[in-house]
Symmetry: C2
Subunit: 160 residues, 2 copies
């Protein structure tokens, strides 16, 4: 699945700044929990078609225990707009849309569909910014019980 | 993201038969298209937590052009039941549930949520079966215009 990639699809040019593997960490917070630190890897890759594949994993710095993981696809849809379709491990998916601003991408969920055992997340907003080999992002989350609040602030560096 | 895996989470024992990388291909069909052959890679891996990560990619045998790709998570939810949350590249996600039967897994979508540009898929059913180092599956699909019909029949072999 990770053979040498084919040429970049022209539709992906405006998302190419995200391509690569990124490693770093950040701080988690939320009104219902104690603040916590995490380490993280994010990877964006492509298959020569008009979408980016995306994988994220965050873990506890002390012991490497996985805290969260996401997989999915990001796709430009024209006029500086993008959509993302993501899967979360705990019974959720996420359909998001937003805009590109140079080497920044902003996404807000249109829907956070969940299965019978899914967590009661109702909204996610994400902003990613790349400056050289540094990727920073914020993620905001609302649940059925908690209004939109900042949950994650991450800073990563490109490793490949 | 692919370092040596931690020990298998006990909840995953009944899904462990899927773990590994699988390669092969199959036949595609649908009432609205000409039959076609494809090659494919499927990978299931884990991070020591109670879910499997899943990546699939299918391509045209002649030139390697990507036909389809899926990413997501499969998770046992007790009593031989499982749920899956998947992302598709073209504006869809999939929330599915089903049951395990030894080394077979059956999933039917509960919801196929889509974004503004998503394909009009309304239902997906999947059956996977592992016998030794062989994985076979069928995928059935309904769209807004076409009742449930077999779309994919694949046979893969374990490569790792």
């Amino acid at each position: 699945m990770d053979a040498a990639p084919p040429p970049l699809h022209p539709d992906l040019a405006e998302l190419a700044f995200l391509l690569g593997a990124w490693r770093g960490g950040g701080e988690g917070e939320y009104p219902t929990i104690d603040p916590f630190a995490y380490e993280e890897e994010i990877r964006f890759w492509h298959h020569g078609t008009g979408f980016l594949a995306y994988a994220q994993r965050a873990w506890v710095p002390a012991d490497g225990e996985t805290l969260h993981s996401e997989l999915g696809f990001w796709r430009p849809v024209g006029a500086g707009r993008l959509e993302a379709c993501l899967a979360h491990p705990f019974g959720l998916t996420e359909i998001a849309a937003g805009e590109l601003d140079g080497t920044a991408a902003h996404l807000a969920s249109l829907d956070v569909p969940r299965g019978p055992t899914g967590l009661p997340v109702t909204r996610l907003e994400r902003s990613y910014r790349v400056e050289g080999d540094r990727l920073s992002y914020e993620l905001w989350m609302a649940t059925e019980r908690t209004p939109l609040a900042r949950h994650l602030t991450g800073r990563l560096e490109r490793t490949s």
